[in-house]
Amino acid sequence: MSQISLSGIHKSFGSTEVLKGVSLDIEAGEFVTLVGPSGCGKSTLLRILAGLDSADTGDVRIQAQSVTQTRAADRNLAMVFQSYALYPHLSVAENMMTPLKMRELGWAGRLPIVGPLVARRACRDIHARVEAVAETLKITPLLARKPGQLSGGQRQRVALGRAMVRDPVAFLMDEPLSNLDAALRVHMRAELSELHRRLNATFVYVTHDQAEALTMSDRMAVMMQGEILQVGPPDEIYHNPASLAVARFIGSPAINVLPGEKLADGRVVLLGQRLFNVQSGQPRALFIGLRPEHLHLAAEGRFEGMISHRENLGSDLFLHLTLKEMDNPVVIRAHPDQARNVARGHNVRFDLDPAKVLFFEADGQRVTLDGARQLEVAQ
């Protein structure tokens, strides 16, 4: 039985349909990422799961209980917001205590000075738990400070701490790293994964950054225009995208898409070159997807292009090649050693790894061409 289950979620704001019947099952202890371009409805879906927004139709189930009619406060979920949403007037410790105080103390226990006297044991217990979480997140020295005195990364940890003090069914995170600088973001990616392993809790993570989705998640759901296009482990999404849209969104630099053709005799042709033969049949136009790392410079390569731009990342070098036959440049990954001598304006030859070629129909659906691999090997 899955921990969280969303089924047939529809949501419209005015006449704009934001979610068009989204269904998703999330297992206990899983790290699931909702990834998609901005405006695809991923944050709305998370808010509906949290109970902060309500769906027009559809059902939200948590631990086999329908919570569609349950308000957010009663769903026992914890959320980390993009803006962190820390209470600016409360110290870090008080911020982290808030969820416990709200849930576990009566009105008397929450009174400013009298409270700790009335509910002494409960208050001591809350303090202990906050300190334990602060210890885990290494923010103990910050406990007395106000959020205004913290850096972005520290605030992020406090927001995480406020979610962790309870024992929620799942942690919901709405682009928690997007306000951090690049280096810290990479660092926090590793730390969040580590935290997930240690807590062994369910994480539902929303991001527009495919790098975050690929590096952290057990499974990722690619969303576009209010629909989930594909759900699966990052590896599978990357290597086996179900559609052109997914292939284009995942991967950086983006996949190269070139127009190709399957002829009646079974030849598959790209830019006038025969790639390989498949079983003969109806001729049709195809889109051919090639990731930059599946292209390589080769003196005897079948294709030729002019280098219009070099992107040096140190470990890799990406070359943008302008082809005679195409408007958009083709991006190809080269080893820095290999490409030391090539400069902008040079003509180079390149070839591809035929086993890695992805085919898409004109409407963007992925197709496998019968016998493509076998024939290539036989050849």
């Binding site: 902060l52 009663d74 959320m79 209470y87 007037h89």
Partner: protein, 306 residues
């Protein structure tokens, strides 16, 4: 090295203006307050602190302080409270918010002199709408209230002319006139509270409206509240036009509405006793100064979050 004098040209104009229109008049007022100067006299006698002594000993001035503080301590809490309450209600409204905003803000925009005339009619003992409405309630269960029964038996109070009621009636009109202004300030404060904090409060289990108010709304309105309270204090210390409209002579029944601004006007302008008028002005200035300093201290200490 060439020494530049550019800075003088940057701060000079502001400094000169401030000195001419603010500091010098204050110093002149302070100087006048220790003399018995009258407008038109060639000279004036130095009288030391005699004027101040009068202010703090004579019964007329005791009444002045009494009236001023009664007015201030009724009007400030009520305008702030009503301002916050109406702002919260309007903020929670979707469609009709703008209508209420306009209605409550109208008295702030209206000329108080004109409003005073209307209120004078309303409070008129025989033709006024207030007392005639009250009389309709006679003979009903309202008479269980002894004050009401007494009113029916004899007559309802002469609101503006009875020394027991006058200052409270004036305060009531002050509240009616003033809370719309605070409401607008609070509305601005409310819109600046980030929505995500309410979401966070909901996730943290703040289920009741009161919890959300305590956890998010009230603390985040802190800076607004400090400003609203200070500006309300200063505005109520400055009340004048209403008193002048109701009681052009003498500050109300038995001087019960003899507020500070009116006292300055009466002494300094009507009776041409510049010395004493200046002395009251200096005392008034001291009050405002203290309030402003408290506000600055509060803003820096307590409510400065960023």
């Amino acid at each position: 090295m060439i020494k530049s004098h550019a800075h003088i040209w940057f701060i000079g104009p502001a400094l000169v203006l401030m000195t001419v229109i603010l500091l010098i008049p204050i110093l002149i007022a302070m100087g006048l307050s220790v003399t018995d100067y009258s407008l038109g006299n060639m000279g004036a006698e130095f009288v030391g602190f005699e004027n101040y002594e009068k202010i703090f000993t004579r019964s007329a001035y005791e009444k002045m302080f009494g009236a001023t503080f009664r007015y201030v301590f009724v009007v400030v809490p009520l305008t702030v409270g009503l301002g916050l309450g109406s702002a919260l209600l309007i903020h929670s409204l979707g469609r009709f918010g703008d209508i209420y905003k306009t209605i409550y803000f109208l008295p702030v925009m209206a000329a108080l002199i004109a409003m005073a005339i209307v209120w004078e009619f309303a409070f008129h003992p025989t033709i006024g709408v207030i007392n005639s409405t009250l009389e309709r309630g006679c003979g009903t269960w309202l008479e269980l209230w002894t004050w009401y029964a007494k009113g029916c038996e004899r007559s309802f109070p002469l609101w503006l002319q009875d020394r027991d009621y006058a200052i409270w009636t004036v305060s009531f009109i002050g509240v009616w006139q003033g809370f719309g202004f605070n409401m607008v300030l609070y509305l601005a404060g409310l819109t600046s509270i980030p929505r995500s904090l309410y979401d966070a409060a909901e996730m943290d289990g703040a289920k009741r409206g009161w919890d959300r108010f305590r956890l998010v709304t009230w603390p985040l309105l802190g800076p607004t509240t400090v400003f609203v309270v200070t500006i309300s204090f200063i505005r109520s210390f400055q009340v004048f036009d209403m008193v002048e409209a109701f009681y052009p002579q003498g500050g109300g029944p038995s001087k019960s509405v003899f507020v500070m601004m009116f006292a300055i006007y009466e002494k300094g302008i009507q009776q041409n006793l510049m010395g004493i008028g200046a002395a009251i002005t200096v005392v008034f200035l001291a009050f405002v100064m203290v309030l402003t300093l408290i506000q600055r201290w509060l803003v820096e200490r307590r409510t400065h979050y960023a």
